[in-house]
């Protein structure tokens, strides 16, 4: 089972670099471009969110990104220290709050085929899954 594991420090540039690597990894495993891009987007949004939510703590969030593939699916797991944060929970936002942030998780939810969340000790663990091959659009 092809697998990629990366630890992200505290910069947005590192997130972008890992997102690009994740996209390339999925494409090299034969996934459709549209599906590899979804993984790249989800790495960006989930890792950035983990950095932001973990930044208030003394301890660094220690963001770990894992990607693995099988015959049918691309999977991404983002694990980070931080206060409990389930990205699937609906959060009502004022227009101002929505302007500042919040769209990232909306995008993650919209582009996932499945999104799972678990609390593991002090860590939030989010798993994003998409099909390896895009489904043909039906009119």
């Amino acid at each position: 089972m092809p697998q990629l594991i990366r630890r992200i420090g505290d910069t947005l540039a590192e997130i972008a670099s890992v997102a690009a690597e994740a996209e390339t990894f999925c494409a090299a495993d034969g996934a459709d471009e549209s599906q590899s891009l979804r993984i790249g987007l989800a790495v960006d949004e989930l890792a950035a969110n983990a950095l932001i939510h973990g930044a208030a703590r003394e301890e660094a969030p220690d963001v770990v990104v894992e990607i693995w593939t099988d015959a049918c699916e691309l999977n991404l797991r983002v694990s980070a220290r931080g206060p409990r944060f389930d990205p699937r929970e609906r959060r009502e936002k004022t227009p101002e709050e929505f302007a500042i942030g919040g769209r990232g998780l909306t995008l993650v939810l919209a582009f996932a085929d499945r999104l799972a969340y678990a609390r593991d000790g002090e860590r939030n663990v989010t798993t994003f899954t998409v099909a390896k091959f895009a489904r043909p659009e039906v009119d």
């Binding site: 549209s34 891009l37 960006d44």
Partner: protein, 125 residues
């Protein structure tokens, strides 16, 4: 590598409309400063308050990019202007569906036609 090389932009005028072409294919979380600077420059250059962002070479557009677009939309709207988007890959189109403040056209030509049909902020005065 500096932002100018990672995120190149090109600006051209189509009549009184500023067309800002995004030269990179991916706009991740680290693109915010470069996007903000390029969009502010385009908005400042748009005397008629009309800007088109040409995304035809873009395949990935994150929420960071959406936030930068929204800031420019708010600034232009305050002076009666508009910003619209054109082109981009399938994921870009999907992401822009979550930005109801910005209209998305298939091509720059289509966007120019739509903006030209509406009075500019200057003409409306």
């Amino acid at each position: 590598m500096d932002d100018d090389r990672r995120f190149p932009f090109r600006t051209e005028m189509r009549g009184d409309i500023v067309v800002l072409t995004f030269g990179a294919s991916h706009y991740h979380a680290d693109s915010h400063a470069a996007l903000g600077a390029a969009l502010t420059q385009a908005a400042d250059a748009a005397r008629a308050g009309r800007v088109i962002v040409d995304l035809s070479g873009v395949v990935l557009f994150s929420s960071t990019a959406l936030r930068a677009l929204r800031s420019t939309y708010v600034a232009l709207e305050a002076r009666g202007g508009r910003i619209v988007a054109a082109g981009g890959g399938e994921l870009v189109a999907g992401v822009l569906k979550f930005a109801p403040f910005i209209e998305h056209y298939h091509s720059v030509d289509e966007a120019v036609a739509a903006l030209s049909a509406a009075p500019s902020a200057k003409e409306a005065e």
